[in-house]
Symmetry: C2
């Protein structure tokens, strides 16, 4: 990693200062190396802005005692920031209610859902209602895995998992979905015809 990048992260408050060894030099320890790896991942693969990464790191540095609160705050900090019309938000809330999900009524994920539903309508995706129901059922399965995997060893471990899990498991999920789509389309459209009987 270039020195300029490290200085930039120091200036932006993502990385704590090292121990000064002279007027112009400082020593950095193991925890700095770990922190740099984390920043790199949040800003790189995670695609976070520096501001969002700072917010995520602050949650890790001062873990809130309530994991449930941490999940909400992580979703808020990590973005993306999406704006949605009031009617679109109402529609997203109805969908969440129909699923029986307990969600804070100002959760930014509601605006993300509203914008995504509006966008699908704008281009007209056939069979949308059915797809949404199936996607919601799958989202429930994923959430059950995620939440069961949150370590309860310490609030710090839990927060670290939630932040990293939110930022990094999203690209993982999307990559796996695309690969599975390629396989499914190969089987449906290119595979050998298997006529039963």
């Amino acid at each position: 990693m270039p020195v300029g990048t490290v200085k930039y992260y120091l200036r932006e408050g993502l990385l704590p200062a090292g121990t000064p060894t002279s007027a112009t030099q400082a020593q950095y320890g193991e925890e700095h190396v770990e922190r740099l790896a984390l920043i790199r991942v949040l800003v790189g693969t995670g695609g976070l802005t520096v501001a969002a990464a700072r917010a995520a790191l602050q949650m890790i540095d001062a873990p809130a005692p309530s994991i449930h609160e941490v999940i909400g705050t992580a979703h808020q900090a990590i973005g993306p920031e999406v704006t949605a019309e009031p009617e679109a938000l109402d529609r997203a809330r109805s969908l969440v209610e129909a699923q029986g999900w307990q969600v804070a009524c100002d959760s930014p994920a509601l605006a993300q859902l509203a914008a995504a539903l509006d966008a699908c309508d704008a281009v007209g995706i056939p069979g949308m209602e059915r797809l949404v129901g199936r996607y919601a059922a799958v989202a429930e399965q994923l959430a059950a895995f995620d939440v069961a995997a949150v370590p309860t060893t310490s609030p710090a471990d839990a927060v670290r998992f939630v932040v990293a899990g939110t930022v990094l498991l999203e690209p993982l999920l999307l990559a796996l979905r695309r690969l599975a789509q390629q396989d499914a389309s190969f089987r449906r459209f290119e595979g050998p015809d298997v006529t039963p009987g």
Copy 2:
């Protein structure tokens, strides 16, 4: 939509020219309005760059006869462009093979998977192997819905669905996952204690 934006899309080749009615004016029809809605959604909610949106629109305008090919091309065109180390790519390929998935060995989704796995390792997500297996199983379910929903009425309908489905169902899925996580964490960490017996 501001006139400047429309002119920009015309210049960038996303929107076909209208019918000239004088030296400085042109008439735009219903299909232009539809196309503008599609561009808006791809660049807005879909988060595509103008170059990626152009590639996506070109696929819609000249639909390839093989849907399977279209899915691969859509994943390539839409991005994000991710680079991964050869060892990381090998690991992603092994994982795909272990799932029994038929995937082009140069699929960009392999690099996305490789980068996501590397990033998870770099920050250390406990129980990662188990989570990846569960995520892959869920990705298979999603892909089965997606591919079954591809309309076979015409190649143009199919391509439109694949492009819009790839770009728009991803933010939908992520929003639903976050909302379901909030619900699951509420039940695990905040809900009333239910002690069986």
